[in-house]
């Protein structure tokens, strides 16, 4: 034996480390991303898991988490369904499935998505996907909004609710610091049944395919995590349907960022269109007002002019009528005067020559 398995994997990870330094994760962009080349993955073969909780113990030790009340060799905790907590980055749950009398065990922890929902949701880039494959968290940026917890389809991130001023989001780091040092993640190293395998993700997929092909009546023909939510660094194979061992089969294969790409794409549209549109509406309404005002002035002027005209014609008519009336009155007066004069003349004649009415009429 020249090299141990651990050494071999250590070298492989060292190769990975050389490319981890520095570059910013593109994980949350809207481009398709099928993982960093050579990034690591972990295959969990649930058919091999015996629920011994050694992985939980290792995780607790490696991450320096508080010692739990119930020791790790107490397997009674398996009777209740558990989830990740701030002091428990990974849990093994026990499931009794329809097909077999033997319970099935499944390990839960951060799946380290290729395009993580949490990293896409984080508004300060406190979470990012690094080239080892791990999704890591930077507490020095975190505001504590907990949108990552809303976003995570696997309900993994937890939050230090009892920390008054410095609460952190806490989750499995895929033992990123250990991988960088060329070591195995704690849970993988301590698994006594080789239910966990660590290596480049594409190799892990090949390994899973081989097992499924070789023992086709033992395994369901599906690698959970190969495509779920755009693919995850943790991969699972199982002898029972995944929905029966607490894993959702309705998540789909789209990345989380693809769900929000649409609304994000609408931002430049709104920013570009609204000012033009709103200024236009303002200009139109203002112009309408202006035209309305002008028309009002116009209408008033026209009405005035019309009224003037009408008044003039009316005045003229009235003048005419008055003139006629005046003439008529004058005529009447003249007539009256003439009649009077004639009468007087006749009377005076009568006084002189006696009554001769016929003659006075003829004179008219």
């Amino acid at each position: 034996m020249g090299i141990s398995r651990r050494q071999f994997l250590g070298w492989m990870s060292a190769a990975g480390v050389s490319v981890t330094a520095g570059s910013r994760a593109q994980a949350a962009s809207n481009k398709t991303f099928s993982g960093y080349p050579g990034a690591f993955g972990i295959l969990h073969d649930t058919t091999r898991c015996i629920g011994c909780r050694k992985c939980e113990e290792a995780c607790n030790r490696v991450n320096g988490l508080p010692v739990p009340e119930q020791p790790f060799d107490d397997l009674t905790v398996l009777s209740a369904l558990r989830r990740t907590r701030t002091d428990t980055f990974t849990v093994v749950n026990q499931f009794t499935t329809s097909g077999s009398e033997r319970p099935t065990y499944a390990k839960t922890q951060c799946n380290h998505c290729l395009e993580p929902a949490c990293a896409s949701a984080c508004f300060v880039r406190a979470l990012r996907k690094v080239q080892t494959g791990a999704v890591i968290y930077d507490a020095s940026l975190c505001v504590g909004c907990r949108y990552c917890m809303i976003a995570c389809p696997f309900n993994i991130p937890t939050y230090e609710y009892n920390e008054p001023l410095t609460p952190r989001v806490v989750k499995c780091t895929m033992c990123h610091p250990l991988i960088e040092k060329g070591e195995l993640p704690g849970c993988v190293a301590d698994c006594p049944k080789e239910a966990l395998s660590f290596g480049p993700r594409d190799l892990m997929i090949k390994l899973a395919r081989q097992r499924i092909a070789k023992y086709s009546d033992t395994y369901i023909d599906h690698i959970y995590g190969e495509h779920e939510m755009g693919g995850t660094s943790w991969l699972y194979i199982s002898g029972t349907p995944f929905s029966e061992i607490g894993m959702r089969e309705d998540l789909g294969n789209q990345t989380a960022s693809s769900f929000t790409a649409g609304p994000l794409a609408a931002v430049p549209v709104v920013v570009a269109l609204w000012p033009v549109l709103l200024t236009g509406i303002y200009a139109i309404s203002k112009r309408k007002d202006k035209i309305a005002a002008e028309e009002r002035i116009d209408a008033v002027a026209r009405t005035l002019a019309d009224a003037n005209e009408e008044m003039k014609t009316k005045l003229a008519e009235m003048k005419d009528a008055m003139k006629k009336e005046k003439e008529a009155a004058i005529n009447l007066e003249v007539k009256k005067a003439l009649e009077e004069a004639a009468k007087q003349a006749a009377e005076s004649q009568q006084d002189d020559q006696g009554i001769r009415p016929d003659a006075s009429e003829e004179e008219n």
């Binding site: 949350a28 962009s29 809207n30 989830r83 990740t84 701030t86 929902a117 990293a119 896409s120 949701a121 984080c122 508004f123 300060v124 880039r125 406190a126 940026l141 975190c142 505001v143 504590g144 909004c145 907990r146 949108y147 917890m149 809303i150 976003a151 389809p153 309900n155 991130p157 937890t158 939050y159 230090e160 609710y161 009892n162 920390e163 008054p164 001023l165 410095t166 609460p167 952190r168 959702r248 309705d250 998540l251 989380a256 769900f259 929000t260 649409g262 609304p263 994000l264 609408a266 931002v267 709104v270 920013v271 609204w274 000012p275 709103l278 509406i281 303002y282 309404s285 309408k288 007002d289």
Partner: protein, 389 residues
């Protein structure tokens, strides 16, 4: 006038002061608990339910109901509906206070509130819709502050600055509409990242559109409702123009809200059709969804229409209450009630009394601030020195 002097002679222990005093005192005590014991000490939040009423009510409902600011100022200054001018200042004030309180409430909810500027100035996470919300709320709060400032400047008698700010009205209004469109919609889009958690009847690729459109009638209804409340309690602060225009404002806004709400019902139905979610309507969740859509949107839309037709001010005001409750219900459904619907009931969230108390405290601070400003500054009346700018 004798009433006023009687009021002044009375002690400061008026019913209003006593009740608000108790609420504010209680709020301050819980504030201390929150910042010494953490969120765990005062809330029922847990790892499955990271957002509670401080997000569902204080943020989502708060922002939706503060939409009256951009709706009213756009109606008056952009669409040229000058007859609503007297409604602009109260609406802008409500919006400004609303957004200020949203930001205040966020200080309770986020873990390290002093880092709230981080996304904007230190490490912008541009792929996040929450970033869009943060940036827009930050900018819009600034815009609202400037839009509101003429009232304060008139009160303080700073003429020159006030005239300068008034000249910016149109630009600020356009800015306000852009920013509101963006963050009102992106508050809905926040939940698009979690299709596996939100019930399919509420989850839709139209969520941002639903949120934006509903913010329009939320704003219109709030202006009507506040108008009614202001008439009840601040009647003596209103000038003749305000009193004369207020009926037309309520009826006009009711009519507009009716149209928008009917359009909203239509696009909600299109949303169901697009995802072919009809079969969910026959479930319990479907009934709850229909109650929200028919009972709290279609019904008030219909009442608004009848009230506008019959020029019935009372009916418009009653309808505005139902419409506002409908918006509250919608936001709570999306953020809390239909969110995590698949979890067993033991894992579901229900707010603690202290969470609710802080929300009540925040609203109370808003009411006290509104009253303080309205009784001092020219909000419900025009300052005699600055009429008709």
């Amino acid at each position: 006038m004798p009433q006023e002097t009687a009021h002044k002679n009375k002690s400061i222990f008026t019913p209003f002061n006593v009740i608000t005093g108790i609420i504010i005192l209680g709020g301050l005590i819980i504030t201390v608990l929150r910042f010494t014991g953490g969120l765990g000490a005062v809330t029922n939040l847990d790892d499955n339910n990271p957002w509670g009423v401080w997000i569902g009510f204080d943020l989502l409902v708060g922002v939706a109901l503060a939409a009256g600011g951009y709706v009213t100022s756009a109606a008056c200054y952009i669409f040229g509906l000058k007859r609503y001018h007297s409604a602009v200042r109260p609406a802008i004030l409500t919006a400004f206070l609303g957004y200020a309180l949203v930001v205040m409430a966020l200080h309770y909810d986020v873990g390290r509130p002093w880092r709230l500027p981080y996304p904007i100035f230190l490490s912008p996470g541009t792929t996040s819709l929450l970033y869009e919300v943060a940036l827009c709320v930050f900018l819009y709060l600034t815009v609202l502050f400037i839009e509101y400032s003429p009232a304060a400047l008139e009160w303080l008698g700073v003429k020159r600055v006030r005239n300068l700010v008034v000249r910016l009205t149109l630009v600020l209004t356009i800015f306000g509409v852009i920013l509101s469109t963006l963050h009102q919609s992106s508050l809905g889009a926040l939940f698009m990242i979690a299709p596996s958690k939100l019930h399919p009847l509420w989850y839709s690729s139209y969520l941002p559109v639903f949120f934006f459109v509903s913010s329009i009638f939320a704003g219109l209804s709030m202006v009507i409702l506040e108008g009614a409340l202001a008439h009840r309690f601040l009647h003596d602060k209103m000038d003749e123009t305000h009193l004369k225009e207020s009926k037309a404002v309520a009826l006009g806004f009711g009519k507009a809200a009716s149209f928008v709400m009917m359009g909203y019902v239509a696009i909600k139905l299109i949303g169901i059709a697009i995802d072919n979610n009809w079969h969910y309507l026959a479930t319990g969740w479907g009934l709850w969804f229909l109650l929200e859509l028919l009972g709290f949107v279609a019904l008030p839309a219909f009442i608004y229409a009848v009230a506008a037709r019959e020029q019935n001010l009372r009916l418009v005001r009653w309808s505005s209450i139902i419409a506002v409750l409908g918006v509250v219900l919608n936001r709570l459904n999306i953020s809390l009630i239909a969110f995590n619907w698949h979890l067993p009931s033991a894992d579901r969230y229900f707010p603690s009394w202290m969470e609710v108390a802080i929300s009540v405290f925040v609203v109370t601070v808003g009411i006290v601030a509104y009253r303080f400003i309205c009784t001092r500054m020219p909000i419900l009346y025009e300052h005699p020195d600055y009429q008709q700018h």
